[in-house]
């Protein structure tokens, strides 16, 4: 039996804004009167390391998504999509920003970064659907590269049991007013990538 309505795993690199996506989803769930829980990475791992956020909509159990159970994997960085792919259910969907952030192990020449198509093809064998986009470019197009995470939020918006209205009102609660219009454009551009 299912113990949550929708399980998301949002991954990326410390500083990319993973927590903001979950915060907006959480606030939207509260607006919709749904129970919600999530778990975040703070502290040491945030300094340039891999970060993972678990978000469970319509769930009143623990905040951790079990391996193999995520309905959605939202990756702000392509390598991190693959690193955390074991959380995806075979029926799940992966949304991937194709813009890599090279880890220090690569810039220092100690390791290689795999080609993006190789990452995407490995992912696609593992879940129902992979949607890839250059979310960083889309965010720049919307007016601010900082809004890359909001592009990804827009992309996932039609795949979760929450309304766009609730998501957008939550977005306006957390984004400074002067960046709101750019963020709304970023949201719309991300959403269009999935439709």
């Amino acid at each position: 039996m299912r113990t949550s309505e929708c399980d998301l795993v949002i991954v990326g690199v410390g500083g990319q804004g993973v927590i903001l996506i979950s915060d907006i989803i959480g606030r939207a769930a509260v607006l919709a009167g749904k129970s919600i829980c999530g778990a975040e990475t703070h502290g040491m791992a945030q300094r340039g390391g891999s970060v993972i956020n678990h978000t469970r909509i319509g769930c009143s159990f623990s905040p951790l998504v079990a391996l193999g159970s995520a309905d959605l994997l939202v990756a702000l960085e392509p390598g991190e999509a693959l690193r955390f792919a074991q959380y995806l259910s075979p029926e799940g969907v992966a949304l991937v920003n194709t813009r890599p952030v090279l880890p220090a192990t690569v810039t220092a020449g100690l390791a290689c970064y795999p080609p993006i198509p190789e990452i995407l093809s490995a992912l696609s064998k593992h879940c129902r659907r992979v949607v890839d986009m250059d979310a960083t470019a889309l965010a720049s197009q919307a007016g601010t590269a900082q809004a890359m995470n909001v592009v990804m939020l827009g992309a996932l918006s039609s795949l979760i049991p929450l309304s766009e209205d609730d998501l957008l009102s939550s977005l306006s609660q957390v984004v400074p007013a002067r960046f709101l219009e750019a963020n709304k454009r970023a949201f719309a551009l991300g959403k269009a990538e999935v439709e």
């Binding site: 690199v13 340039g48 220092a108």
Partner: protein, 595 residues
């Protein structure tokens, strides 16, 4: 009722404030730091006193003082901080409280951001005080408020023990009104309860022991202990493990009895009913077998034939639990198949991404200069902070606990070790636990160099202020303590301050310290690059020109802003303009980007 999507630590902070807390003191430490940060955000112009104390012992004593003066008070810390505060913690249980006193010790199973995974429930048991173990943010909030009542009713400090998955989880939490703290406090003189002379301590110890049964009886009725009697096989789970167990039982659709626990001492009557009802029980808890030991003792009288499963064969005693681990443990007990985690795609093609020092972080420059002056064969004891991540640079040979760099270095120097010794610790760590070690090193003639990596903040835990910053927790200006004056007063012979972005001068300074025949202190001062950038600092970035010979010396420096592409180095968009790589480059091939 209003609901908000709250971080566990924010929920705990709200719980304290809704209960009218009058003073909160703590030292930053993951996963506890956001409790005080939330209070700073919410306090407005309320009379509530909130502070970052210099360490956890200080924080707990400040909180105890407020409690004795009649204000509800709380001290916040991470689990290892409780080791620092253990001295007042143990004796406060004897002396008791004035107004309610809550000790929040946030545990970190799996060491997400810690040096060990000790279980604070053991400390509460050791001290003889009550411990509340929330399973989620909502319980964290309720328990934080209730802890004051319990503390006042039984005249003991009460521990609230969230874990990382409570402190750093979020959920929808009902929030109420924040209550202003009680009016002006007043310290009542009562030597028999405030002066821990042996003659006072002996009867107080007896009193503390006598209270235990009453505390247990009180907690029997707490809403966080829940018993559902069903089948003859049962599960007993504590804190967040209760949520994993509930979810696993729902998913497996098994008719199991379930006892979820959230308070210590454990509710004896409820435990007894459970043990009388079942013939087989699994105890599920993170880390230590605290509940399991009680179950085993109780079963000897209540149900000697009871089959008890737990840490020995089913549930790991290390790391954190999760749904799959708990589900599979219960499935095995019920002879059901385990659910294996689906094998993910092969991630071995991925490069590792360990946390690392930021681009432009001055610690990298300081360590580079230190190693250049001392040579790679010197011994480099280090400490707890962002700089511990420089372990790959070869300048972090030890990390034990807050401040131990200086004292370990002293011990090594007194052991006939011939190599030079240069230890390092951050500014906040020095003020927390390094000062006594420096004093001891001076007094006992340790011939070492101490580098204070002064980025003028407590960076790793989220940039909290400390006495060297001249600002309080609420951002008010205050005395700015001089590290130079402190180092001299504590007895260091040579004290020099350098800007690590000026690499040559920093190397020379370390060389003088190396050759100094006594205790030397180098203060390497450059604000944390994250904080400086947030404050608007923009230095001109650098670029690599045609002179690059591809020697990779800059690559070995390890800054994430420097990449190697084809035959040459390249500086990427992460560059903050610190300029240290330009000083390192032997071909003078790195220059500032023209304006």
């Amino acid at each position: 009722m209003v609901r908000e999507y709250l971080l566990g630590n924010a929920a705990i902070a709200r719980g304290l404030m809704e209960a009218g807390v009058g003073l909160v003191a703590g030292y930053p430490g993951t996963p506890s730091s956001e409790i005080i940060e939330t209070i700073v955000d919410l306090k407005g112009d309320s009379k509530l006193h909130v502070e970052w104390s210099v360490n956890e012992k200080v924080a707990l004593e400040v909180a105890a003082g407020a409690s004795w003066a009649g204000k509800r008070a709380a001290a916040t810390m991470k689990h290892v901080g409780l080791n620092v505060a253990a001295d007042p913690f143990m004796t406060l249980a004897y002396l008791g409280v004035g107004a309610g006193l809550v000790v929040i010790s946030a545990d970190d199973p799996y060491c997400h951001s810690s040096q060990n995974e000790q279980d604070s429930r053991r400390y509460a048991q050791f001290a003889g005080i009550a411990c509340l173990d929330p399973k989620n943010p909502a319980e964290g909030k309720e328990m934080a408020a209730y802890a004051f009542e319990l503390s006042e009713k039984f005249n003991i400090p009460v521990m609230l023990r969230p874990t990382t998955r409570v402190s750093h989880s979020r959920s929808d939490v009902e929030v109420g009104d924040i209550r202003p703290p009680a009016r002006a406090g007043h310290f009542l003189k009562d030597p028999a309860r405030r002066v821990a002379l042996p003659v006072h301590a002996r009867p107080l110890h007896k009193e503390l022991l006598a209270k235990q049964k009453e505390i247990e009886a009180e907690l029997e009725g707490a809403p966080w202990n829940r018993l559902v009697l069903r089948g003859r096989t049962g599960v007993i789970a504590s804190g967040i493990a209760g949520l994993y167990a509930q979810e696993a039982i729902a998913e497996l659709d098994e008719d199991l009895s379930l006892l979820c626990l959230g308070t210590y001492p454990l509710p004896g009557r409820m435990m007894r009913r459970m043990l009388e009802h079942v013939s087989r029980v699994m105890v599920i808890e993170e880390l230590e077998p605290v509940v399991e030991e009680q179950v085993k003792m109780l079963a000897r009288t209540v149900n000697p034939g009871l089959e008890i499963l737990g840490k020995e064969d089913c549930i790991p005693r290390h790391g954190e639990l999760d749904l799959l681990t708990v589900r599979n443990a219960i499935a095995r007990m019920m002879n059901r198949p385990e659910r294996l985690a689906a094998k993910g795609p092969d991630a071995r093609i991925l490069p590792p991404r360990p946390p690392s020092l930021c681009p432009g972080c001055s610690h990298r420059a300081t360590y580079y200069a230190m190693k250049k002056a001392f040579g790679k064969n010197a011994i480099f004891p280090s400490d707890i902070g962002c700089y511990t991540m420089a372990v790959n640079m070869g300048t972090v040979d030890t990390c034990l606990c807050m401040g131990a760099s200086i004292t370990l270095a002293s011990g090594i120097s007194h052991s006939d070790e011939r190599a030079s010794i240069c230890c390092s610790l951050g500014d906040s760590t020095f003020l927390h636990g390094g000062m006594t070690g420096l004093l001891n090193a001076a007094y006992n003639k340790a011939r070492i160099t101490v580098a204070i990596l002064d980025n003028s903040t407590t960076a790793m835990t989220g940039h909290q202020p400390h006495p060297g910053t001249g600002l309080t927790a609420t951002g008010e200006p205050t005395v700015q303590v001089s590290l130079e004056a402190l180092a001299k007063a504590l007895g260091a012979g040579l004290v020099e301050t350098v800007d690590p972005y000026h690499l040559d001068e920093t190397v020379k300074s370390f060389e003088r310290a190396r050759d100094y025949p006594g205790l030397s202190v180098i203060i390497a001062r450059q604000p944390c690059v994250i904080k400086a950038r947030k404050g608007g600092q923009r230095l001109r970035p650098l670029r690599v020109n045609e002179e690059c010979k591809g020697c990779k010396i800059c690559i070995d420096f390890g800054c994430p802003a420097i990449e190697f592409e084809g035959e040459r180095a390249r500086i990427n968009s992460l560059c903050t303009g610190c300029g240290v790589c330009a000083a390192i480059c032997p071909a003078s091939a790195i220059e500032e980007v023209a304006p």
